[in-house]
Amino acid sequence: MNVNTYIPLFVILSSFVPALIIFRLPQKRHTLRTFLNLFGIFMTLFFVLWMFIGVYHNQEYLFRLPLLPNLDFSLKAGALALFFTGLSSILWFITTIYAIGYLEGSAHSSRFFGFFSLCITATIGVALSANLITFLIFYEILTLSAYPLIIHRGTEESRIAGNKYLFYTIAGGALLLLGVVWLYVLTETLEFTPKGFVYTIVQEHHFASMMIFTLFIAGFGVKAALFPLHGWLPLAMVAPAPVSALLHAVAVVKAGAFGIIRVVYEVYGIEIVTLLHLMTPLAVIASITIIYGSLRALFQDNLKRRLAFSTVSQVSYIILGVAIAGPVAAMGGIVHLVHQGVMKITLFMGAGNFAETLGVHYISQMNGIGKRMPLTMVAFSIGALGMIGIPPIAGFITKWYLGFGALDSGEEWVLFILAGSSLLNAAYFLPILYRAWFLSPPQSWPDEQIFSKTETKLSLLLPPLITAFFSLIFGLFVATPWSPLSWVQLIIEREFY
């Protein structure tokens, strides 16, 4: 029993404890609240960094607590877990700063930041969980703690959106629960193991294994917004911009995609899934989702809604990467967790800035917005171009590896999907950029706020710039040992193949 055993728990507690305190803070104490938030983040980042170094040197971090007879609550920091942990904690940091700028001073911020921290706790828990039941627990906590954020505004619209979100995700959760229990009844273990543990039963319970896999995919697919389970995501954009960032980039959607990665690699193992002939359907669904999301995005005028459909499409890259079933494609898919995260968060923060500073919600109102808010628009443009897959931005790396991986595994049709989706991406992002940069601004903005020094509040301006910077960096310095891609390579080498 050394301190290393408890570090996974500390990571979780370092965001959970501040969340509990924040809940009880009165509205007025915003300094203390900000301090607590940042303190929690720094603690988390500290521990995560510690574990990164440790894991790099093959240190093991495993925490166990008996939950049920024969079932433990266990947290383990492996390479993949840390990858997702790192992503969410860093993006959390950025989003929190943004959220402080966006929401501090408005009503009920204690509740907001409390649930915000709780969301992160749950996400980190999802990332670190070492077996399916722990995963399920945090997954559902995540579902629940995102709900108050979505209906934070307290309007009828947000209530309906929240209920729809909940309906989808809880139904997904129920399927997942069924799958997990079923699997447990058959295999009597739920620990994630490299290359999976289902092979023990696949001979005997062929059909059951298929059904369980389907249940898992359906369950995670809800959060990952796989077509046709994506219905909640576009509605949920009624939430404040930081929440959208959280949902789309940091936590919720990612948790679903991450779950699929876990299931495919560490519950079933690639071979078993291929054996069961489930990879191709998964890839097909992912492809359909990619195209469908892009097509829907094309016809949205509401900016956030367009971004939401874009997310539907982009997250499926991850799944597609997994489903192609080759190491290269898997690299592309997994690294897209980070790439999509930084790019999408940039876009949402940008959209939030437009809405907050100028009252612009629709693309048709965005004429010449680049002249009014150049820095934000630069960040937004980087994000958008990255999404399309223009080199050297991060999105390009993903598509490159995906395409390469597809060829590697002999699934050439994927290339058409990638090309088509890139075209569609371009079709729905480029007009925005065109409007923003090249058309002349209108006489007045719908609801403009003037800030003397910068184009908008500093705390609103910096985060998107940073993330845009990240997406550039990740694309440019992809070969350095600390880039996400290198880490993914580490994961793939150590755990998957």
Binding site: P148, N163, I170
Partner: protein, 480 residues
């Protein structure tokens, strides 16, 4: 010896608070604290010595009445005393002067009856305790003094009497068939003759009436929803379970050896599933909060019987599921009822769509409701989740997919009705409403109950080892 005090103390407290009404609150609370203390002592003793009998009056079974303490009764006693203490603290603030004059005596007598029931081992003694519990809960229900409450109480009284009569008829048949009213002796003597089957049917009907399984649930919503909040809480949390507990005892020692489980397994599963679906749907369409919670109880009773049916089917894990569901439902549902009581007090109504920004104005109550809701739905990590996990495990082991689907569907519907309420706690109503202040303890008690319901999820392993003391489900283990 300690177990006797669990019965005597509440009686004593009740009488004392009747004779000296001036200090009834102090007496009541003091009694509950002491009772909890004794339950604790009993637990320690049980861990030390294992299960044991107490021969009342020194007369052994066929003639006298035996008390029996094992893990199951300990768990139920613990639940009762925890609920009793917390609801008493709540009730201290809740009841206005005139009501509280008689409240404490009846309340303490009810707790005494519950404790006596959980300790008993004698089917006629069960009857008397059932009547004690029934009459006192009717009297307590009628305390709210509204038209609904009185009607609900009356309906409840009639049903509880009817149930008791059915049960008593069964007792009479068993006595005349096998010459004893002690469960252990009966379990040795019982054989498959028509009287045993008739008694089985009659007793089951009577107890099902009392525990409000689906076709017999019609009396429950009104009674539970119109009673004063702490009473609603105890009704849903413990009283319903008391008759289920008797069923459990009867089946595990008398009726399973009879070979009755084969038929009743299907029956219980069928009606349990119907109860889950029907109760949840009815809850979903309710417009009043307390009514919604009451219908949710109907649904949850369905779960209990599904677990019961699976347990009869020979899946031992279903017994654990049953007890776990009982515990977590008790804590969560009482928290919900108390929150409803708070809202009723706060707004003067409990219409769901007119809950005006409760999430902001009564954050503690809302949190309590949400946490309790989590447990009711069975989301991780909560007591309800553990129960549901076992239930699913049992049903999948049995490859009973209908039940599996019902459990999942019930969970979804539960999400629907819980979050229907929670959604409206965030929104603002069009008109302004007058509000009253709520004392802190009235908010903290439901919160702590809800937290207990959640925390139950963390203590499954120790709780199970506690429950196994004396092997309450012994027949099941013997059977191959």
């Amino acid at each position: 010896m300690i177990e006797v005090f669990l019965i005597l103390l509440p009686f004593f407290g009740g009488i004392l608070s009747f004779i000296i009404p001036k200090f009834n609150k102090v007496i009541g609370l003091g009694t509950f604290v002491l009772t909890l203390f004794f339950v604790f002592g009993l637990g320690l003793q049980l861990l030390d010595k294992g299960s044991y009998y107490h021969f009342i009056g020194g007369w052994d079974a066929p003639l006298g009445i035996n008390l029996y303490v094992d893990g199951l009764s300990l768990v139920m006693l613990g639940l009762t005393s925890v609920m009793g203490l917390s609801l008493s603290i709540y009730a201290k603030k809740y009841f206005i002067c005139k009501q509280s004059l008689w409240f404490w005596t009846i309340w303490l007598f009810m707790i005494a009856g519950l404790n006596a029931l959980f300790l008993s081992q004698d089917i006629f003694n069960f009857y008397v305790t059932l009547e004690l519990i029934g009459l006192s809960s009717v009297a307590l229900t009628a305390l709210s003094d509204t038209k609904e409450a009185l009607t609900g109480a009356m309906r409840y009284l009639l049903i509880t009497l009817l149930g008791s009569l059915f049960y008593l008829l069964g007792v009479a048949l068993l006595y005349h068939g096998f010459g004893s009213v002690d469960i252990v002796i009966l379990s040795k003597k019982i054989e498959s003759i028509p009287v045993a089957w008739a008694a089985l049917g009659l007793m089951s009907i009577g107890l099902l009436l009392k525990s409000a399984l689906f076709p017999f649930h019609f009396w429950l919503p009104l009674a539970h929803s119109s009673a004063p909040a702490p009473i609603s809480a105890i009704l849903s949390a413990v009283i319903i379970k008391a008759s289920l507990y008797i069923q459990l005892r009867l089946w595990s020692s008398l009726f399973i050896p009879l070979g009755a489980d084969l038929y009743f397994e299907v029956l219980f599963a069928f009606f349990g599933s119907l109860a889950v679906i029907w109760g949840s749907i009815k809850a979903l369409v309710q417009t009043r909060l307390k009514m919604l919670i009451a219908y949710s109880t109907v649904a949850q009773v369905g779960y209990l019987f599904i677990a019961f049916s699976l347990a009869l089917g020979g899946i031992s894990i279903a017994w654990s599921a049953l007890v776990y569901l009982i515990l977590s439902h008790a804590l969560a549902k009482s928290a919900m009822f108390l929150v409803a009581g708070n809202l009723l007090h706060f707004h003067g109504h409990d219409r769901i769509i007119d809950l005006d920004r409760i999430a902001q104005r009564l954050p503690l109550s809302t949190t309590a409701f949400a946490l309790a809701g989590v447990s009711i739905i069975g989301l991780p990590l909560s007591g309800g989740f553990i129960g549901k996990w076992f239930l699913l495990e049992a049903s999948i082991t049995k490859s009973n997919w209908v039940i599996t689907c019902t459990i999942l569907l019930g969970g979804l519907l539960a999400t629907g009705y819980v979050f229907k309420v929670l959604g409206f706690t965030f929104t603002k109503t069009a008109f302004s409403q007058e509000t009253k202040n709520i004392s802190l303890s009235m908010e903290l008690i439901p919160l702590s109950l809800a937290i207990m319901a959640i925390a139950l999820g963390f203590f499954a392993t120790p709780l199970f080892s506690l429950m196994e003391i004396g092997n309450p489900f012994f027949i099941i283990r013997v059977q191959p």
